[in-house]
Homo-oligomer: 311 residues x 2
Amino acid sequence: MSVTVVGSIAFDAVTTPFGSRERMLGGSAVHFALAASFFDTVNVVGPVGDDFGEDEYAVLRTREVNTDGVEHVRGGKTFFWRGEYGWDLNDRRTLDTQLGVFENYVPKLSETSRSAEVLFLANIQPDLQREVRAQCADARFAALDSMNLWIETTRESLIETIAGVDCLMLNDAELRQLTREPNLVRAARQIREWGPRVVVAKQGEYGAAMITDEGFFALPAFPLETVVDPTGAGDCFAGGFMGYIAAHRDGDPDHDLLRRAMAYGTALASFNVEEFGVERVTRLTTDEIVERVAELQQITQFVGKPIALRE
Amino acid sequence: MSVTVVGSIAFDAVTTPFGSRERMLGGSAVHFALAASFFDTVNVVGPVGDDFGEDEYAVLRTREVNTDGVEHVRGGKTFFWRGEYGWDLNDRRTLDTQLGVFENYVPKLSETSRSAEVLFLANIQPDLQREVRAQCADARFAALDSMNLWIETTRESLIETIAGVDCLMLNDAELRQLTREPNLVRAARQIREWGPRVVVAKQGEYGAAMITDEGFFALPAFPLETVVDPTGAGDCFAGGFMGYIAAHRDGDPDHDLLRRAMAYGTALASFNVEEFGVERVTRLTTDEIVERVAELQQITQFVGKPIALRE
């Protein structure tokens, strides 16, 4: 009865028009785990180096994240990413990436991690994702994220991995790149032919769209006057989305449940970008989440009224 | 009790990955008028040349659009635009623009056009838009569209014109360019300080967002597997939006009414792009519009349910 996430645990150095941080806790598995922790217990799986200390573990444990799957590689350095965002926050530049302990990482899942009902394969090499998927054979709902690098270098392996999950979650542009199809509805159909029955397109400031056999659903991003740091927004979205699914143990999630999951994902992502790194989400309260989902409902609904149109 | 639109009446030559048309009826005022004609009577105001014939008038009259404001300039040529869309339909190239009769056009509105309750200033030179706004002093709701050309060449005049309308409707990128503010919520606040109380951001395939004093609202574009020709989608959106407002004569439109107007705008735009030029909208039925708005409501709503979150 829990969620397992496999992905990066990192230190990030980030500069945005609103300031900068030289070294803060980050990584896809961390952002995901903190967001999902509001819904269910989370097992985080990934490697860290000697520079990863008690302060970092404490952040995860404050949210009762199970860190038994965090593998400490002696003599190694934790994954490091340095990036810069422009005036337009969609404009992101990677300045440095140091794989560190990630270079030779092979995930070995504990019994607890393997028995999770819900599994999220954050953006790592597709062969590794497939390996993890095989270890969690009983997960009732598995999703994966990926990136342009894997689409360009290991497309066939990625497609094979995608075939083994219930849900693919990618950026808009990555979905197009992967399927070579510019139209989202067609791209999603192609992916559903490969295996997953749920496709989620992350659209940054425009929100997210979902396509299942039961149809299409879309939500805008929650409108914010100040977006301080977009790093990790997609992983927080995934954390809210998968966490919601994990918390509802009524079998295979249907379209209505998945819509609500999208709303919680959108809410979590919106909090994440309000401050640097994990600063906002670690201070978040459940009341704030509930309130934001209610606001999101408010700003996306219109009430139909009969109208006399002119033939 | 009608809508007046001032804008271009044009012949378009368009190539998309799905085919091409060498010469078809187009222009912002035409697309707007056909879309708005499902809601109220529409007065279309703009110049045409000798090449504009009975076939073109017939298209407008079939939808009972009042063409008295169409000014035939003897010896002139109708505005002509040639454009090409790429594999990704967001990628549009203008290959030729011939202003023709538009070059020295000064709108002179008839009593009927001037007395319309609702006014749409489609994308023309801002000084002309202001002139028309002055002629329609009694319109209870006026909106305007513009483009990057006017932002770059006549920004001050454009801002002065914007000050005189109730609603500004621009593309996302144009809103940023105009306000020099990348964040949509802040950009909209800046514009509302200039005058309009309603700001609509057209977001292409991502739909549209609206900001008023009462808050934020957003709708995705209606999902389509095949978008044949995006030309005129924004004007059809405006036609559905303004037409809906015109059809509801209950004073100043409130946020709830404007949300519904957004839904009808979204529906009209989605039909427009299904075929080339005005081909689809001229064949459209009121039942199809009602059905699409209902579907749009379906694909944007989620039902909130109580949830026990983990503190």
